[in-house]
Each structure stands twice: as C-alpha cells, then as structure tokens.
Subunit: 133 residues, 4 copies
C-alpha cells in the first residue's frame, strides 16, 4: 500500500484543513508509517482526491517544509526529509495518551459504558486493518 494512502480530511471539523493534513503527516512520520525519502502525494493529485483547493494542500506541505520535516525537490515533488526520524516511544505514547483522554472524556460525557467503548474501539481497529505497518 502506498505511503500516505490514508490521508483524509473532515471539512466539518473546526481544525483548518491544512492543519489536519500537517498533523496527519507528522503522525505518520513520528510513527514510522512513512520513511525518509518517501514521496508525499503531489499537491494537485491530493487536491483532486480530497476535493480541496490545491493552495490548501500546498500550504500544508509548505508548513511541513518550514519545520524541516519534508523537502521539496524542484520539478519532482515533496519528500519526507532525510533528517525526519521516528519519534521515540515515550513521545509517541504521550501523544496517543492525549488522544485517548479526549475520547474517553467524550465517551463518558455521552454516557457510554466501558464495554460499549471497548466495542467501538474493537470495531474501528478491525475496520482499519490492512494498512502498511
């Protein structure tokens, strides 16, 4: 499966689209799903795929480049930088913990039981199986 196959956005969310993309690429790099040298989808292709303006994708890639996570090669495309490293385990756990905390809080507020939550996690995990790991 191609790297970055799973990039997706949610227009209803308050987080800006370009920011959603930045976050997902960062996560993929931190988690080792993609590696230095891997190509990001081209601005135009991804824009078509996500039905988004090319400028929006370009802005995301630009921000990532400013942070040194990716580099653009003229006329070729945008690539994960050689210097981009998989984040250490502790850091990844910390990030995941925050995400989990948000979701648990929401589940509780919605009055879900522990079993119901586990069921949802189980189902979602299965549903997303098969990506490059």
């Amino acid at each position: 499966m191609a790297p970055f196959a799973g990039l997706r956005i949610d227009a209803r969310q308050a987080t800006p689209i370009y920011d959603q993309l930045v976050t997902q690429v960062k996560l993929a790099v931190a988690g080792g799903t993609v590696r230095p040298g891997d190509a990001l989808p081209s601005v135009r292709r991804l824009a078509v795929e996500l039905r988004v303006n090319p400028n929006t994708v370009a802005r995301a890639w630009r921000e990532l480049e400013a942070e040194g996570l990716v580099e653009t090669r003229r006329g070729q495309g945008t690539f994960v930088a050689d210097s981009a490293r998989r984040a250490p385990k502790a850091q990844r756990t910390k990030a995941a913990t925050e995400a989990v905390a948000r979701t648990v809080a929401e589940a509780r507020a919605l009055g879900l039981s522990r079993d119901e939550l586990d069921g949802l996690v189980e189902r979602e995990w299965k549903r997303t199986e098969g990506g490059r790991s």
Copy 2:
C-alpha cells in the same frame, strides 16, 4: 458535584474557545450528565474562572440558545431547556464512534499495537472514574 463543573478550555487549540464550550455543553446534555432545568454557570463567573472574555462565553450560550438547547431567564441566568432531551442511543453511539475513529487513526499512525491502545484506554477510564455518571 455541580453540573458543568468540568468545563475547561484549551487556549492553545485551534478550535475557537466558544466552540469548545458549546461542544462540551452539548455532550453533557446528550449524555444525560445534565438535565433540563440545570443551570449553566453565569457568563461572568465562568469568564473569570476560565480567564476568558465574557463575550466569548456569552457567544457560546447564545449559540446554544439559538439551537434551543438552553434558555435564558431574565435576571436568573441560563438553564438547560425543558425540551433538551438525552440523545437517543443511536445518536450517542454515532458521536462516540467518530471520536473513537479519530483516536484509532492516530494510534495507528503512531505505530501503537492493539494491546498498547487498550492499555491506554483502560488506564484513562480508571483515572476518570468517580465523576457524576
């Protein structure tokens, strides 16, 4: 524990503050944590507590009122509307599923195993035990 005791905001987040408040109130109503007739914190008190512009809190309450979830009684304050009902199970599950999906996607991107994710959920669930439920 007073209803709405846990309202909290994160100024660093991209989501507008008023939006964070709206979401939390909605969740509490949908989940049955608060019930029709319960009072929302007063605009001024909450503004002070969260160190936020009173306009921002007012804006949140206004949006909620526009949606019919709360009602303002002159001189008394803002209250959960009588018509506000706990959301039906299916709707609550749908909301929770979206939250879970986001978190599972993030965990996967970070390269966590299923067991690691379960462990984090377990820990977070235990940690937040004891609130009004």
Copy 3:
C-alpha cells in the same frame, strides 16, 4: 515617524513580494529601528498602500510569526514579539557587508569609478535621511 513607515516592494524583482516584506521587517528588528511591542501595519492597510493582495501581506506576517519574530493578537493586529532582540553588532555588520559586496560587484561590472560609487552612496544616504533612528 511611525515604525515601518518605509516598507516598500519592487514587483520587478525576482524575490517574491512576501519575501521582500519578511526581509525588511527582519532587518528593521535586527537594526533596532523597531522595538518589541511595536505594531506592524495591518494586513489590509499595507495591502492597499503597496497595491498588493492582502493575502500576500498576510503570508509575510504569518512567516514572521512562525519564526517567532512577531505575534498576532486576535482582533488587534500583529506586533513585534517581546522576545525579538536587536541583533549583535557583529551580526549586523556581516549582513551589511554582504549587501555592500553585491553592490560593489555590480558597480565594478558597470564600470563605475570609486568616486562615482561614493557619490551615489552619498546622494542616497542624504535622500533617505530623516527616518527614526
């Protein structure tokens, strides 16, 4: 004279407009012409003044913010960051030396004599006298 009164761009130049603005603000900060807390011109006002698209100015301010040189206060405007310091003398001299080298090289290529070059510098210096210093 107001800070940043002298911001100007040259559309004929190869350097992108937003970049020209970034550079000028950086120089002004490094040189002490402007100080922490000083307001940058508003995006819209400057865009009108320079006959440029507001997006272009916004992009410049955004890049400066990403570098921590300025900070934006919601609804108020963009300001030189408190942390922005005047560059040390050595660094300023280095920057100026590069600029001088470029110009001397060009003057030589154009066949100017030393006296002619001095005359131009003299004239330009006089012409720009009167700024905040």
Copy 4:
C-alpha cells in the same frame, strides 16, 4: 583574465539560477567588461563548473539571445553580439543607483552609521581591486 571568469551563482538565493546568470552577463556587457565577439563559456563547461544542470545554463544563454545580446554560432559556441554595446553612462548610473539604494536601505535598517557604511564600501572596493577593468 578571461572574460566572464567571475560568473558565479548562489543556489540558496530565491532568484532562479538562470536569472542570476543572465543578470551577470548583462552587467558585464553594459559595463564594458566584455566586448562584442567575446565568447561566453560553453554550456557544458560552465554547467560542470557551477555544478548546475546544463539546461539551466542553456536557458540563460537562450534568454540572452532572444534579447539580441549574444548570438550562437553553430558548432562554435555563444558570443557577445556585435550589436551589443556598452550601455550609455546614464543607463549605467541608473542601474548602479538602484543597487546602491537597496544597500543603503539595508544599512539604515541595520542601524549602521554613515561612517560604518563608508568603511565597508572602502574595504570591499580594495578587496576586489585587480580584476580586468
């Protein structure tokens, strides 16, 4: 010293490489440093020397030819056109004035005194003495 011996580029600069070359050749012609009939370096040789794609050099020579400043003689190379004349004094002064203006602006923004600027010009002029003039 061979004509065009000093052609050099700066890959870090925003200005396209081919443009940097065009500008330098134009300057050399305008200033009389090179004369009609003088040969430009061959595309390949210069590409190797500057570690640049030959297309880039070719592009520069092509632009210059389109402007009538140089002409290509099949199998021989590229030469300064017979019609290329040293620019009139006024025009050269104008070009130099712009360069000086940019540098004076930068020096002012950096908080340099008139004396400091003069010192830098003096030093740079001395340092570059000895080229073909």
